[in-house]
């Protein structure tokens, strides 16, 4: 008889579900966090969803706010893409090696770009607000700076992962470095870079809304004011409008990705070559006049960026800054990140398994996840405060819900990919044909193949969540985020500098860790 050792090592299909174990301790402590009042408000909020205010004046204000938000997102995104492409090329090892025969300048630029990347767009926004005053250009720059650094990183990663044989062939044929790089790497880079660029536009819309919540203009400001004054009907007017724009944008970008044969978010590491470069180029050219018109409508001009306001004098009290409870602050921030990441990463596949086989299950999930993406985390946090006490768990729930919206949608899309390609659904169909129920067929047949790329994306998402912890600081979640927002509002510049430095260091370490996890998952 053959004996096989007991391993207790979970197989691939279980891996995406493991983070959901964080629900167990959460369910234990959650009852203690619920406070008496507020359920009535939550019920009013839910009921208002079906009766949004249709007051013409309000609609006009909401549409104007939405226009500003979309405009900020579009300009911030376009600027970040342009800067990010340049930054990406400049921080690519293969480019420097082909050009000058050395790779160290690429590494140096990469390290430099890590700094703007590590600071969340909200912090950029609030810092620039001090410098430039309240104007749409602040929000545009706040998005463009960290996004450009993110795009640069992805572009350089994509460039360095491309096969080098065509480049070597051109170089050995005597082609100059610039022409060889452009010919050998340019077309191969485009599908991955533009697919990622498309996702950044979706993110930019969410970021622009979030910046609005913190007073940087646009619909987010209206949403926060409506929520704080408990005008739920008005709130839902804005939310439904934003949802319509968000879903239209996502559908448009998805259709374009399909049309141009671009890789989905999970498959960006194995990008193939797209088919219709000419159409893509035309679309980009068509976008240019739109951007100019948007900039004119928002009254954004480069001259605005040069008019700096005087900063308050720096009154540093470094011993007091050093005396802050740094260990506790860092631990709380990391705990908040870990809990939110586990909930977002683990609950998305769990809900998919439980709900998707219902007759309207997938539609329901789409709706829940759209709400998650739509609703900026600080607003979710404020809403949760109606029924929960402020603290780390409330903040983690708000962050988790938002990221669940992002992860859940990508997972559902990946599960709906065609079943014709090996490893992408064939096993699920085969199991269904052998009488297996839909949930087990999904678990065994789909999750097996998706587990690694999903978790790799989850690791990236955890890194994003670490940056985002600052945005839920306003619910008194403790941690670095809360203190940072306090320092900003009280102009405690010394504390601010120290906190941003620690935050940046932490996010860089987190990014490094998440990179390692991702590489291990994708190569293992």
């Amino acid at each position: 008889m053959t004996t096989t050792a007991w391993s207790w090592r979970p197989a691939a299909p279980l891996l995406p579900l493991l983070p959901a174990l964080a629900l167990l301790p959460l369910l234990l402590v959650l009852p203690g966090l619920i406070h008496g009042g507020g359920w009535e408000l939550v019920a009013q909020f839910a009921a208002a969803a079906i009766t949004p205010s249709l007051d013409p004046l309000l609609l006009r204000t909401a549409l104007a706010g939405l226009g500003i938000t979309v405009g900020i997102a579009l300009l911030g995104w376009a600027l970040s893409l342009a800067l990010g492409l340049v930054g990406g090329v400049l921080s690519s090892r293969i480019v420097w090696r082909t050009w000058l025969g050395v790779a160290w300048p690429a590494s140096a630029i990469r390290r430099f770009l890590a700094v703007p990347r590590s600071i969340h767009e909200l912090l950029w926004g609030l810092l620039l607000l001090q410098l430039l005053g309240l104007k749409p250009a602040v929000a545009v720059l706040a998005i463009a700076i960290p996004y450009a650094a993110l795009v640069a990183r992805v572009v350089s990663d994509l460039l360095d992962a491309l096969p080098t044989a065509p480049l070597q062939a051109l170089r050995s044929g005597g082609a100059p470095a610039g022409a060889a790089l452009l010919t050998a790497l340019g077309p191969a880079l485009l599908p991955g870079a533009f697919s990622y660029g498309g996702y950044r536009l979706e993110c930019a819309l969410r970021s622009a809304t979030l910046l609005g919540v913190f007073g940087l203009g646009g619909l987010g400001t209206e949403l926060r004011l409506s929520l704080q004054s408990l005008q739920f009907h008005e709130l839902w007017t804005g939310l439904w409008l934003l949802l319509a724009v968000m879903l239209s944008l996502e559908a448009l970008l998805r259709a374009l990705r399909h049309r141009w044969g671009m890789p989905s978010r999970f498959k960006l590491t194995t990008a193939g070559v797209g088919r219709s470069g000419r159409e893509l180029l035309l679309a980009l050219l068509g976008l240019l006049p739109v951007l100019v018109l948007v900039a004119m409508a928002l009254e954004i001009s480069p001259a605005q960026l040069l008019a700096w306001q005087p900063l308050p004098p720096l009154q540093a009290n470094w011993p007091a800054v050093l005396a802050l409870p740094w260990a506790a602050l860092v631990a709380t921030t990391l705990g908040l990140t870990l809990l939110a990441a586990c909930l977002a990463v683990g609950v998305a596949p769990l809900l998919l398994l439980l709900v998707a086989p219902w007759p309207w299950g997938r539609l329901l999930l789409r709706a829940v996840w759209a709400m998650g993406r739509l609703w900026p985390p600080p607003l979710t946090a404020l809403l949760l405060l109606f029924v929960l006490k402020p603290g780390v768990i409330t903040a983690a729930l708000a962050l988790a819900f938002h990221n669940l919206g992002v992860l859940g949608r990508l997972l559902l899309e990946a599960c709906e990919d065609t079943a014709d390609q090996p490893g992408s659904g064939g096993a699920e169909v085969a199991l269904s044909c052998s009488g297996c129920g839909p949930r087990l067929a999904l678990l065994y047949g789909r999750f097996s193949g998706l587990a690694r790329s999903y978790l790799a994306y989850g690791a990236y998402r955890a890194d994003v969540i670490l940056r985002e912890t600052v945005v839920v600081g306003l619910v008194g979640a403790a941690g670095l985020g809360s203190l940072l927002l306090e320092a900003l509002s009280s102009f405690a510049v010394d504390e601010l500098i120290a906190l941003i430095a620690v935050y940046a260091l932490l996010t860089l370490l987190g990014e490094d860790l998440s990179d390692r996890v991702r590489q291990r998952l994708l190569s293992g």
């Binding site: 053959t2 007991w6 207790w8 979970p10 691939a12 299909p13 096993a427 085969a430 044909c433 052998s434």
Partner: protein
């Protein structure tokens, strides 16, 4: 008149029509498959063989006509339909093994229709039913020592055998195979065909779509499709070069009336 009731066919198609163009089309296909029968399905590429098998295993509910499994139409209730489908095993051309799991876990995946969640989850944590899986591997001439191996560690031939072993673990009454011998070298194709034919015992039946008519000799019956129509139902002995030329030639001169439609 005989009073003894004959058991229902394991598979019956009645006037199945799948509209469409090319390979996806079926036109008024009727056939019966009884226990103990080993039936080869011939036809050129695009004749509708895969569509017929998809109808037979329930993947493609036919827009017109009926499919009956052991005399019963597919149940309306999902659970009952699952029970029915558990009696039909399909060997896919691309095998559809779960690449991220071990040999043992793949074999156990064939039992999921009968297992509840606890056992299905336990299979992802620890080896289950090692005895039965070892026996299934021996049945297809594989070493049970392969059980803890990842599927990706197997050779091409071993993967084919594993797919057949998984089929056996399902314990189906009706075996369907969609061109399982395509892309195999001639020796392996003959070996695997013998292995598959060996599995058809008294209560089982096999319907296997075949690219190579020269391998049809060991079957009990041969069906053939041409442009979505069932045009041939005969014995292997009656296959002749003219018939095959007509079957595979896109523009034949041979009179279709020369062929015999109906049970041999």
């Amino acid at each position: 008149m005989a009073t003894s009731k004959e058991p229902s066919p394991l598979l019956e198609l009645r006037g199945v029509t799948v509209p469409g163009r090319g390979a996806n089309r079926l036109e008024e296909v009727s056939l019966q498959l009884r226990a103990g029968e080993r039936v080869a399905l011939l036809g050129s590429s695009g004749a509708g063989k895969s569509t017929l098998l998809a109808v037979a295993n329930g993947l493609l509910p036919p827009p017109a006509g009926a499919v009956l499994w052991q005399g019963a139409a597919p149940a309306r209730s999902r659970r009952l339909r699952q029970r029915q489908r558990a009696r039909i095993g399909t060997l896919w051309q691309d095998l559809r093994l779960i690449e991220e799991l071990t040999v043992q876990q793949n074999l156990n995946a064939a039992r999921l229709a009968d297992w509840g969640w606890p056992k299905a989850l336990a299979n992802l944590l620890q080896p289950l039913e090692t005895e039965a899986n070892g026996a299934a591997l021996r049945e297809v001439d594989l070493d049970p020592a392969l059980l803890p191996q990842p599927v990706t560690a197997l050779s091409g031939g071993q993967r084919q055998r594993l797919a057949i072993a998984r089929l056996l673990r399902q314990e189906p009454a009706l075996l369907l195979a969609d061109e399982p011998l395509a892309q195999l070298d001639p020796r392996l194709a003959v070996e695997l065909l013998a292995l598959l034919l060996r599995q058809v015992t008294g209560s089982r039946a096999l319907l296997l779509s075949l690219h190579r008519p020269d391998l049809a000799g060991d079957f009990d019956r041969v069906l053939a499709l041409r442009a979505g129509k069932l045009v041939l139902d005969t014995t292997p002995a009656e296959l002749n070069p003219d018939l095959l030329r007509w079957l595979y030639d896109p523009d034949p001169d041979l009179d279709p009336a020369a062929t015999r439609i109906g049970p041999p």
